[in-house]
Amino acid sequence: MALLTDTSSSAGAVKSRVVRQYNFAQTLPALLLILVFFVLPVLALLLRSVMEPEPGFGNYAELLGTTTYLKIFLNTFIVSALVTVVSLLIGFPVAWALAIMPSRLSTVVFAILILSMWTNLLTRTYAWMVLLQRTGVINKTLMGLGLINEPLPLVNNLIGVTIGMTYIMLPFIILPLYGVIRRIDPAILQAAALCGATRFQALTRILIPLAAPGMVSGALMVFVMSLGYFVTPALLGGTANMMLAELIAQFVQSLVNWGMGGAAALVLLVVTLTLYAIQLRLFGPARIGER
């Protein structure tokens, strides 16, 4: 069985390499398109970050040497980490439930997930504003139940950003996790139970280690996307916890400072690419094949 899988997967690798070489010429137009409309503008922006207002690394020095900016960096990381952790905590049980529920039910849940992803981002964020505001449904319900006397501050702060962003990021963590969990044979967990493992032990010692690749790739995707998120923090966040993308927007739109905007964008890009490289290194396609 193991031998069979090994040979078939290596045969598959050889085959896909051949196919990849063969198809390379045909992808040239697409690559050209990406080069002209994606890579070149980014390079131009990066160039401006070291050329404006004068050549040199002045923009970077200012960006990394000013407490206000550093606070924004820190805040960006805190919000992203918080969103990632909350997404994982909610996404893991949902992915697990999706993997074990009857397919007719899971189709419906998937439809809801995908529909939410297709719905306009701005609409969804405004919807949260309505729900979370002082006179929103959530505060009114809680006050009606007598649980609170004063409306909770749920919007224009960290709570609002975390709720709004977690909601948007959830599908990106549920889908890869679902893929990994579904491949785990339920009989493995039955075996663990008969071995004497409690549900908690089966979760921590068997299920989570087996789902780790999905968790890491999902978490990293969410973290990286959160780092550069703009709309939700701008609408649901407060001025006290501005994020990097908002800062970039402010540099470019309000201050018309392309140099600083480009510098901040490069910092974001470097952090993102570094995290992506770490993920590839730890849980990349080659590593998954080994398992």
Partner: protein, 362 residues
Amino acid sequence: MTEPFLHIEGLRKDYGIVTAVQNINLTVERGEFMTFLGPSGSGKSTTLYILAGFENPTAGDILLDGKSLIATPSHKRNIGMVFQRYTLFPHLSVGENIAFPLKVRRWGKAAIDARVREMLRLVRLEGFEERKPAQMSGGQQQRVALARALAYDPPVLLMDEPLSALDKKLREEIQHEIRRIHQETEVTILYVTHDQEEALRLSDRIAVFSKGVIDQIGTGPELYANPSTRFVAEFIGDSDFVTCKILSMRDGLADLSIGAGAPIAGVPVHGIATAGGTASLMLRPERLTLTRGTAPQAMPSLPAAVLDITFLGSNIHVAASTGSGETLSVRLPFGHPATAGLSRGDTVFLGFDPAGAHVFCG
């Protein structure tokens, strides 16, 4: 009378309006090798899964050493199980897999190490401790699964078609291993299979499952010599059936006639027979005699026309059609004088011992 080791009492499992198993009554002695034999969907796996605690029975009870298991969750039953599919933990090495049940039982490290080595010796996989399951063959993986299931000395070991994913040669090899391990450890084994040969080779006793009930429980020879239902007769060994008419009944023996032939006296009857009714006479290919020319005098016989002759090494297999068009098979040793010069279309007489045949009604 002493309390039986494992006692299954009136077990029943319904899924909505479908009854998966019902009226399962079974006792198993300590150290016994009991096999649940039956086709897929006969309820044998469901019964095993109820024993494992993965399913709750609709009714009935399971007593192990006199204590009910029903309310105990799987992880507290202290039962071992080897599954049909490979269920080793893929992220753990072979040694860690075997150590897993001991770690959750909080054994000390030295005790675990010693036990893992002992188990690897038992399944003859010394030196494989560091391997990952994916680096091992299917047969090796199932042996590790066996070691993992036996590591904590469970009183009962459940095996759910553990060899069905393996090829025939490997399967026979591991059957030998299972027999040896059963003898060495003296663990009580409940084994599920649909393969009669596997059941006969391994088991002390066999419970034959059909359509959610146990048709018969007995040793292999008992089931072969004395099947209580037509299903058991068909499932254990080869068998052919001839329609017959019951003439009269006494003491569980019937007098019957086949077609226009002479009455045949003293055939054991199973089921509710009524004089004048029709029934099926079961004949085993290896217990029929074949004569040519004239009918044998010492025993009843059926005239038949040879349809086909197949040479099978040590045996020769003759298929013949009776007057009513039913096909009977005869198995004769190679070189049997009656087979010399036998060809298709020849008329032969198939003789049998009435006391060794069986009549099934209904």
